[in-house]
Amino acid sequence: MKVNKSLLPLVNPLSKDNPVIVQVLGICSALAVTAKLEPALVMTISVTAVLALANVIISLLRNTIPTSIRIIVQLVVVAALVVIVDQVLKAWNYEVSKALSVFIGLIITNCIIMGRLEAFAMSNRPWPSFLDGIGNGLGYGIILVIVAFFRELLGSGTLLGYQVIPQSWYDAGYQNNGMMILPPMALITVACIIWVHRSRNKDLQE
């Protein structure tokens, strides 16, 4: 597939350079927020918003930031954005903010964000940095959504809270797999995705 070179920062992280399944970053939050689809979607939106904005801000400031405190500057910017996201969620979607509780605060420590700021935004212009932020946020989000889809479907029999497994199945003896709700199954699901992804992308195999 040929893509415009200027869109590479947006497209690459979706598959070839995916932050979760190729760079194996941000795994901790992938375990925590994927028991249900809704928090996974909200987390995706939050991380994408924080990452894109932080990338643009750092990219704009990149020529003024003193080298000796650049990590601190990055952290301050990310932390401020995360607090804003947290406050907005508390005001507009209190239920989800309760469900995500500490994980919103933990966006600050999400390795993907610090990684992109240091590796990309510090040395690129704002527009590519913005695309890179959106791309990596979505690349992270795709994996969260896939994992959450299977965990919610198999673990609770619902999707986005709506019952999808018909009652007749339960009457016939079908049971929700309670283990899917527990964190270890998120890791195993991520591993399965990596397995499928590697087998389709031979050049990623080591």
């Binding site: 003024t64 405190i69 401020a80 406050q87 907005v88 507009w92």
Partner: protein, 253 residues
């Protein structure tokens, strides 16, 4: 200007922090009213949950709350209503439980359900990692629990956190907190397989021993100051009990 000099670094970080500080305070000020509204709605939802009233999706919690909770007031530990100027909803239970029993403000919410008038009382205590709290709805006899709602700040998922699940909370239905002689004794939370001789009991959460003990202690400590108030309800209903249909035995779960 030399970007590596100490002066530049110090000025840069000062300006950055000031700008960020201003932005954050503006955001906080702008969103605070909406957030307080959400917190109040959440509390109302919890109060209603103890009387097993669950809002449907998209339903306005405040409307639902005012349609059920017809009156609320504050009593003292002698069961007398005090200071009608204070709003029971605004009492911070987490601060009240730290005071001696005779100084506490004890909120009571009267909830008129289709199964009669219920009295909802807040409880507050400590779990393993942090605070646990809840609301207990009593039948109008002031003795039998109609429903219970518990929540926690950070108990272990799958273990202590199970106290917020219906499987634990539903056990409280039909439990009497007074002994046959009218002595307050609360509800015991006992290990699966055990039971208490003359006290009402529920099963603890397996693997959540400290949290379960916390629930037991919370129930006793928070409900005991109410015992005069609840006893007065009990004697009121006893006087008018002649024309009442006897309540059927609730199944022993």
């Amino acid at each position: 200007m030399n970007r590596q000099s100490n002066t530049y670094t110090i000025i840069y970080s000062t300006v950055l922090v000031l700008v960020v500080g201003v932005v954050l305070s503006v955001v906080y000020q702008a969103l605070r009213p909406k957030q307080l509204e959400n917190i109040a709605d959440d509390t109302k939802k919890q109060i209603l949950a103890s009387a097993r009233i669950v809002p449907e999706a998209g339903q306005n919690i405040s409307d639902l709350y005012s349609s059920y909770i017809k009156s609320s007031y504050i009593v003292n530990n002698k069961g007398e209503k005090i200071d009608p100027s204070l709003n029971a909803f605004d009492v911070n239970v987490s601060l009240e439980v730290k005071k001696p029993a005779d100084e506490r403000l004890l909120p009571v919410f009267e909830c008129s359900t289709d199964k009669g008038l219920k009295y909802i009382l807040p409880v507050y205590g400590a779990g393993l990692w942090g605070p646990i709290w809840g609301y207990i709805a009593f039948d109008s006899n002031g003795d039998t629990i109609y429903g219970a709602y518990f929540a926690h700040a950070g108990e272990t998922p799958g273990l202590g956190a199970e106290i917020e699940k219906p499987a634990f909370q539903d056990q409280f239905e039909g439990k009497d907190i007074f002994s046959k002689n009218g002595v307050f004794q609360s509800v015991a939370v006992v290990k699966v397989g055990k039971e208490t001789a003359d006290q009402a009991w529920v099963h603890a959460v397996s693997g959540g021993t400290i949290t379960s003990q916390g629930v037991q202690k919370m129930l006793f400590d928070s409900l005991e100051p109410y015992s005069a108030f609840l006893s007065s309800l009990k004697s009121e209903t006893a006087n008018s009990a002649d024309d009442e249909v006897p309540v059927p035995d609730v199944q022993n779960n």
